[in-house]
Amino acid sequence: MTTTVSNLESEGLPDPTGHPDEMDRGKVEGKSPTRLAIERFRKDRLSMVSFIIVALYILGGILAPFLVKFGLLDPTSYHQDLLNEFTLPEGPLGGISWKHPLGVEPGTGRDVMSRVWLGTTLSLTIALIASLLAMAIGTVLGIIAGFTGGLTDGVIGRLIDLTLSFPSTLMLLALSAPMYALLTKNFHVPEGDLAWATYVVVFLAIFGWPPIARLIRGQVLSIREREFVHAATLFGASRFRMYFKEILPNLWAPLLVSFTLLLPAYISAEAALSYLGVSIKPPTPTLGNVLRDSLNYAEFDFVYFFSPAFAIALIVVCFNLLGDGLRDALDPKSNR
């Protein structure tokens, strides 16, 4: 029963179950699939909560550099006066005060909230660019493989298998020295934070695109047989037009879902790489390297140890829930 309803919905026909209060008598209003999806999404309370938290993170992430500029956040200045003789923060819970809501860092006295907040900006930016890059590579190769078929499909399929057989964390660790040198010496990326960020973004994407390509290829295989594609072929549409004007617009739903699931994976990956010392280095804060710095004080300053970890966990959970919610809303037939 439910399947027939959702089939009608996906064809853009009026909802047969109907919402009487929204319909004028005699005038039946059609709802687009997108609008139906948004309505379904709005009804899902968990997804809405995660959506709001994700939005707050993004807003906070955008604001942080400006707050630093206006002196409201200060991730770098030392406050030795707030530390006791063991260089641990004075006062309870890691030195929490109005001026330092998450306390100060042991050893240096830097403001923990500023470091976590600005770290969020950088971690989100890295994860965002890396996932956009992985999506771009995966989408283009997936469309080409699915649409062309034959030998091209085979070659891209083997490339996917090959990439997946690399141990990615190990590769990212081991390649850091030679590739950092390659980036700075041969590609003239300025040394330091920018070169490390470039390294992480590029290599996360290089090892991360295969699942996207597989997913998109599968979708394209079915889109390929639709009437509008045949029509476009008859009109003599160029390959480029075929890929990006005819097929790509039909892929936005799976792309959006996989994007919201890839991004949190990259936030975690960036943190893990920071722990291994192959991402942006302190004193520039990322969530990963703030947490790494805090590990030395794990036993003595729980607030400092827990804050960056919680910041990572919360955004990762919310992005995952958001992705699940979007999938349910966009594809009502899927039932996890």
Partner: protein, 349 residues
């Protein structure tokens, strides 16, 4: 069937060759001279040349390091030959005649020689592998057992508070970085609250099975957290899906106990994909549980890779990367062949 197995193995070997070639290209296309690292900070061009010779890298004149396409291909050739026939470090016939004690023999399959540790890569990997294998084994047992159990529990209580709580908690545990969980277990459970003794790897030969297993618990828990959430969600989805199947309804209709229906019928169908996934995950952990091993200071492959990276000990890094890749590729072949046994349709495709 035999044709399929042979074809699958052939593809696997080709994949391994391609992977090693790509690895060599990536490592040697950079302007970093591995010989520079191998002989330390204050290194004269002559010493560097010796280091290069000891590592078996081709020389292009004293102190010159060229990264080009020909270099990686040449080194890959030497490496491949070493895998098949074995190598000597340094590969120098005259030195071998004059002072055979200065030449290290590395029998096939030879993965290289670390001038930094003055040992062959095979020896180092051979020491590290049992540690990694133990952690991976303990972790896979934990995450399958608890993942499936909790997943079934969530499926049975679908929609209830318990179900939501279980799925939410497992997602949250997965979302915390594993180096946070590991450090928490180590500093709070082991050190601060002394709830569990500080783990340090003890082999079965040294301390018996009990000591071996009890030392593995905390690292295994850390590692299992990372994977468990996926298994909880997957088990839950599979069980829910199969509960709608006809054969489960039949089993229920003929009056079987709920527990029997659940474990003998509903879960049975979910077990194949779960075991497949566990096999592949196990293989990827075998390549080194880098973070877990670093935190608990277990000298496995992951820790070896981290220290090799710090010293830029290239032969060790390449060796570990290729061994880890070989594990993944082998696991894939095994899984595919098992699938072909179970499902004849696979063989044709």
């Amino acid at each position: 069937m035999l044709a399929y197995v042979i074809r699958r193995i052939f593809v696997g070997v080709a994949m391994l060759l391609a992977m090693s070639l790509v690895t060599f290209t990536l490592f040697f296309a950079s302007p970093v001279d591995p010989a520079q690292y191998a002989c330390g900070k204050n290194c004269s061009p002559v010493q560097r040349e010796q280091a290069r010779k000891a590592l078996g890298y081709p020389s292009r004149g004293e102190g010159v390091w060229e990264s080009n396409i020909k270099g990686p291909a040449e080194m890959w050739g030497t490496f491949a030959k070493g895998i098949v026939k074995g190598r000597q470090f340094p590969a120098d016939e005259e030195l071998r005649k004059a002072a055979p004690e200065n030449v290290v023999d590395c029998a096939a399959p030879c993965f290289g020689y670390s001038t930094y540790s003055i040992r062959t890569v095979n020896e180092m990997v051979g020491e590290a592998l049992p540690v990694t294998f133990s952690i991976a084994l303990a972790a896979v047992i934990l995450w399958i057992f608890f993942g499936v159990l909790i997943g079934v529990l969530a499926a049975v209580t679908k929609g209830s508070f318990l179900d939501r709580g279980i799925v939410g908690t497992s997602l949250f545990l997965y979302a915390f970085p594993s180096f946070f969980i590991g450090t928490f277990l180590l500093t709070y459970i082991s050190i601060k609250w002394s709830l569990y003794p500080l783990p340090s790897y003890t082999s079965i030969a040294d301390g018996g099975v009990g000591t071996w297993a009890s030392n593995l618990l905390l690292p295994a828990v850390t590692l299992a957290m990372l994977y468990m959430a996926g298994y909880v969600r997957m088990t839950r989805a599979f069980v829910l899906e199969s509960q709608a199947e006809d054969y489960v309804r039949t089993a229920r209709a003929k009056g079987l106990a709920t527990r029997k229906v659940l474990f003998k019928h509903a879960l049975r169908a979910a077990l194949t994909p779960l075991v497949t996934m566990a096999g592949l995950d196990f293989a990827s952990v075998l390549g080194g549980a880098i973070i877990t091993e670093s935190i608990f200071n277990f000298n496995g492959l992951g820790k070896l890779a981290v220290s090799a990276n710090t010293n830029y000990d290239l032969p060790v890094l390449i060796g570990i990367v290729l061994i880890a890749g070989a594990f993944v590729i082998t696991a894939n072949i095994i899984v595919d062949i098992l699938y072909a046994f179970i499902d004849p349709r696979v063989r044709v495709g």
